[in-house]
């Protein structure tokens, strides 16, 4: 297994790392979209995600990595098991699955297991990338260039949390709950609005222009490339600290209180910005709560809203396609107005 660059060692790109941490605290926020130029550390940050999360308990031998604590909604394999037998579990690290652009539909949703069919004459289902990403992250680089038929698939699965395969004589339904992480360069193409909507948070990254920052990034990258193991060990402690922080935030999440005033603020903000549907409010609310938990606060405060609103709302504004002003700034302005009112 190739080593990934430690998350804690990532310099700069604060907004992106923050968004990723927030989503790690509460996966139900629904994923992160990172837009920006090449070579800004998008994929490095996403691939380092696994560092942030502690290993999860899975049912041993289950190809869908089912949660032993939640037998309901289990996969076909776990359902077929005798309910009285004791469930054997094991710990696995959280999956970060890459969905490459050229992937075939078979590969993504899963298909007939040719190997078994040929060697044993058994018709069985070989899970695809969606199954692998269950309870983990699905990363799509250059998501704006993804083929339309794959986008359709993803939109459906990301909304329903389960993958339904009806093809080649197979009829399989299995859970596929994952956090969608996409990255891309908006100059090369735009995203379908439906897919855009599936992402909870969106971040804009720019290449850092600060020379000292760039130097330190290059230094760390170089150190990592030279000796990944040593570098990883060097940052192990910080990674652990981050992981603990996220775990703590997760525990705290249920206790974080959202006052009615805050709810009103959220609603007013969304109203003023004219976002479609209620998903914007919900996401904003969840993100703000997760951020408060990450900060160790037990109540959501206006400043939490202030930091999260651009992330949660930026991509939901009804936008004149010719208008190239940064939507984040627009959101920020509205937040100021709403808070001042």
């Amino acid at each position: 297994m190739a080593l990934t660059f430690p998350f804690a060692a990532i310099v700069g790109q604060d907004e992106m790392t923050l968004a990723i941490q927030v989503v790690a605290v509460d996966p139900s926020i629904g994923g992160v979209l990172v837009l920006g130029d090449r070579g800004t550390g998008k994929s490095t940050a996403v691939r380092a995600l696994a560092d942030l999360l502690p290993p999860i308990q899975v049912v041993k031998g289950c190809p869908y990595r089912c949660d032993p604590a939640k037998p309901a909604g289990a996969c076909p394999v776990c359902q077929a098991r005798d309910p009285k037998s004791k469930v054997v579990t094991e710990r696995q690290s959280v999956a970060v699955v890459d969905l490459p652009l050229g992937a075939t539909e078979d590969r993504v949703v899963g298909a007939l297991d040719l190997e078994k069919a040929l060697s044993q004459g058994v018709k069985s289902f070989a899970p695809g990338l969606l199954a692998q990403a269950h309870r983990g992250f699905l990363y799509i680089d250059e998501v704006n260039l993804l083929d339309d038929h794959l986008v359709d698939l993803l939109i459906d699965v990301a909304a329903s949390g389960e993958n339904l395969v009806e093809r080649e004589g197979l009829s399989v339904r299995h859970p596929a709950r994952f956090v969608l992480v996409g990255s891309g360069n908006p100059e090369e193409g735009e995203l379908r609005p439906q897919l855009l909507d599936r992402f909870g948070l969106s971040v804009q990254v720019r290449t850092p222009q600060d020379l000292a920052l760039r130097v330190s990034i290059i230094k760390r990258r170089d150190a990592f490339d030279k000796d990944p193991t040593a570098f990883k060990a060097l940052w192990h402690k910080d990674n652990q600290k981050l992981q603990k922080r996220i775990l703590k935030a997760r525990e705290l999440l249920d206790q974080v209180e959202v006052s009615d005033d805050m709810l009103m603020l959220c609603a007013r903000l969304c109203q003023q910005l004219g976002t479609d549907g209620l998903r914007a409010e919900l996401t904003l609310l969840r993100a703000t709560r997760a951020f408060a938990a990450l900060q160790g606060h037990k109540a959501v405060k206006p400043e939490h809203l202030q930091s999260m609103a651009p992330l949660a709302l930026r991509h939901r504004l009804r936008r004149n396609p010719l208008d190239d002003t940064d939507s984040g700034a627009r959101v920020q302005r509205s937040v100021q107005e709403v808070l001042a009112a």
């Binding site: 800004t40 550390g41 490459p100 539909e105 297991d113 004459g121 100059e187 020379l211 760039r214």
Partner: protein, 619 residues
């Protein structure tokens, strides 16, 4: 104070470029996957052959990946042919796994489909092939890529996602065999001795692990990259690796100016998007490096700058000795000078005129064609019944039937048992995507206020094209030249930005505009996109093809290019924007075979619907 460009002939000597290309080969041998690989831009010919021969002689594993490879061969999977033949399951290792610790060679890399590039790039970056359906574990493979780019200068090159990750960009386009004649003759007899002996190789690789760059050098590297307008952080990272390998090759533990210069020439220079800012301008930038180190350093003098490169060369010859530690600024100066010196003159001009440009000039063709619907491009086959428009996809059908042969007891009949449910059909994208080429008259006769009107109308058009997922390309013409304001793109933001910055005034070089539109159309056609031309002009050409005044000559030039357009058979629409439409524009339009629409007041809505009619005449 303006900085003089380093005289190009100082060191962009063909022989030197050739030597760099050979050095790159040796570095590949030392560190095949450290700096990503090499992107070689050169036409097929003796020079490239020579380089490839030397590459093959390196003794590294070299796996050639043709553009037609399927994903199972590339990443490993079922060997379908063998499996069908024997009735037993046969797996094959992927080409990428075979290339472990060696190189992957991509001929005609500029033509590779995104579907092929994506997994390749993924494997290159992660150093492993993702687990496939048939193997739960990812398989580790580290390889470098040698991408051979045969594209012509005006064609889009290797996909940006791949090119970005290849450290060394070599351009041997303009090299002729006689340029490398010096080692041509003696090489004929005994071949190039590029291959390091096993002992030397081990030594160099050992050395590589210990090569360290000091802070000043890192700083200089980053500053040089920033100064040349290279935003991506991957680039200085790759340059650093290359410099380290170069030091290791020369048996050094510490990086020297020489190593950095080589990296600047091979990694930074070809990617430069702007002429480095003037020293004065640099101080205004957010992070002037003067703050960080040695503030006493005065701004460099132009003469010093020009001398830097030869100095650097001279250093190579004499024993380096212990030279005084150069400061970060010196190093940066040196690298920028080395980078600029290695650029061919026309690139320099381009950089000079695009001073301060922030975005790279093209955002990669792959992006547009990928999402676009191109006529005749096959899509992955799907299950379905043949008949009507759908054609049977034989291979996919066999693939679907293959696993069920045992169930169907095919062996008793001796035939492949295929059932209806196996049928797969070929899919092509139905609608060919089109690209609207807007030729926009920004000359004085088109009057400024009318230009503003036209801009408004064009915005509406752009929105429509956006809704249709079509791309747009804008050619503006005024004064003595036609300008490609916006290469075919789908990004509305870019289109709008290009429009807003457009000045007006000057003559009407209609012939030049038509010529450029024609060239663009031909290029789009090659990519499988249908071009549609919309000319917004009053048709009063008064600048000739040579960019000179002269109404009669200008008209006849315009006529002849109009005929060219007609010969190409593409559709066109002429919107006459003059207040009093006259026969001139109408005649030109008919020569072009274009629809003609006089529109003294530009009415966006009317214009848009006219274009809609031209686009889909059958409706």
């Amino acid at each position: 104070m303006t900085r003089e460009p380093t005289p190009p002939e100082a060191s962009s000597e063909p022989l030197e470029r050739w030597n760099d290309a050979l050095t790159a080969l040796q570095l590949l041998q030392i560190d095949p996957h450290g700096f990503g690989g090499v992107c070689l831009r050169a036409p097929h010919g003796p020079v490239r052959e020579r380089w490839l021969q030397a590459l093959a002689d390196l003794g590294l594993g070299l796996v050639k990946v043709p553009g037609s490879v399927d994903s199972e061969r590339l990443l490993g999977g079922i060997d379908l042919a063998h499996t069908l033949q024997t009735g037993q399951l046969h797996m094959q290792a992927g080409l990428l796994q075979q290339a472990d610790q060696g190189l992957v060679c991509l001929p005609m890399a500029e033509r590779l489909s995104p579907a092929l590039l994506a997994p390749l790039v993924q494997a290159l970056e992660q150093g492993q092939v993702p687990p496939t359906r048939h193997s739960a574990e990812p398989s580790v493979t580290r390889f470098g890529v040698v991408a051979l780019d045969e594209s012509l200068p005006d064609e889009p090159g290797v996909g940006a996602a791949l090119a970005e990750r290849l450290g060394v960009w070599l351009d041997l386009h303009e090299l002729s065999p006689s340029d490398i004649h010096a080692d041509w003759t003696d090489a004929n007899s005994e071949g190039l001795h590029l291959r390091l002996s096993p002992g030397a190789l081990t030594r160099a690789r050992d050395q590589l692990a210990h090569v360290q760059a000091n802070d000043d050098q890192m700083q200089a590297l980053c500053a040089a990259a920033l100064g040349l307008g290279i935003g991506s952080l991957r680039v200085p990272s790759l340059a650093l690796r290359l410099a380290c390998a170069h030091a290791a090759l020369n048996g050094r533990q510490a990086l020297e100016a020489n190593d950095l210069g080589f990296a600047a020439r091979c990694v930074l220079a070809p990617r430069a998007t702007q002429w480095p800012a003037e020293p004065s301008a640099q101080e205004e930038e957010p992070a002037p490096q003067e703050d960080v180190t040695s503030p006493q350093e005065p701004p460099p003098q132009p003469s010093e700058n020009a001398d830097q490169a030869p100095d650097d060369e001279a250093e190579k010859d004499k024993d380096p000795g212990p030279p005084p530690e150069p400061s970060a600024e010196d190093l940066q100066e040196m690298m920028v000078a080395a980078a600029l010196a290695s650029l061919p003159p026309h690139m320099l001009d381009a950089l000079m005129t695009r001073q301060g440009a922030n975005s790279p000039q093209s955002s990669g063709r792959s992006g547009q064609t990928r999402a676009g619907s191109q006529r005749g491009r096959p899509l992955p086959p799907r299950p379905g019944r043949p008949g009507g428009q759908a054609r049977l996809h034989v291979l996919a059908t066999l693939r679907a039937a293959a696993p069920k042969q045992r169930l169907r007891q095919a062996h008793s009949t001796g035939r492949v048992a295929i059932r209806v449910e196996d049928f797969h059909i070929q899919r092509y994208q139905q609608r060919a995507s089109s690209c609207l080429i807007l030729a926009l008259d920004a000359s004085g006769s088109a009057a400024l206020q009318r230009l503003a009107e036209a801009k408004g109308a064009v915005e509406l058009l752009l929105q429509q094209s956006y809704a249709r997922r079509d791309s747009v390309c804008i050619v503006a013409f005024r004064g003595a030249q036609a300008q490609l304001l916006l290469p075919a793109t789908r990004s509305l933001v870019r289109a709008k930005r290009a429009m807003t910055g457009l000045p007006g005034g000057g003559g009407t070089p209609l012939a030049l505009a038509l010529k450029m539109a024609h060239e663009q159309a031909a290029q789009l056609q090659r990519q499988g996109v249908t071009p549609i031309l919309v000319v917004l002009s009053d048709g009063r050409a008064n600048v000739t093809l040579q960019g000179l005044g002269g109404r009669a000559q200008a008209q006849s030039d315009a006529q002849s290019w109009g005929q060219q357009w007609r010969a190409s058979g593409h559709r066109a629409l002429w919107i006459d924007t003059s207040i009093q439409p006259d026969a001139q524009a109408q005649q030109l339009a008919s020569t072009m075979g274009a629809s003609y629409l006089p529109m003294p007041q530009v009415q966006s809505q009317r214009m848009a619907s006219a274009i809609e009619r031209v686009r889909s005449p059958q409706v």
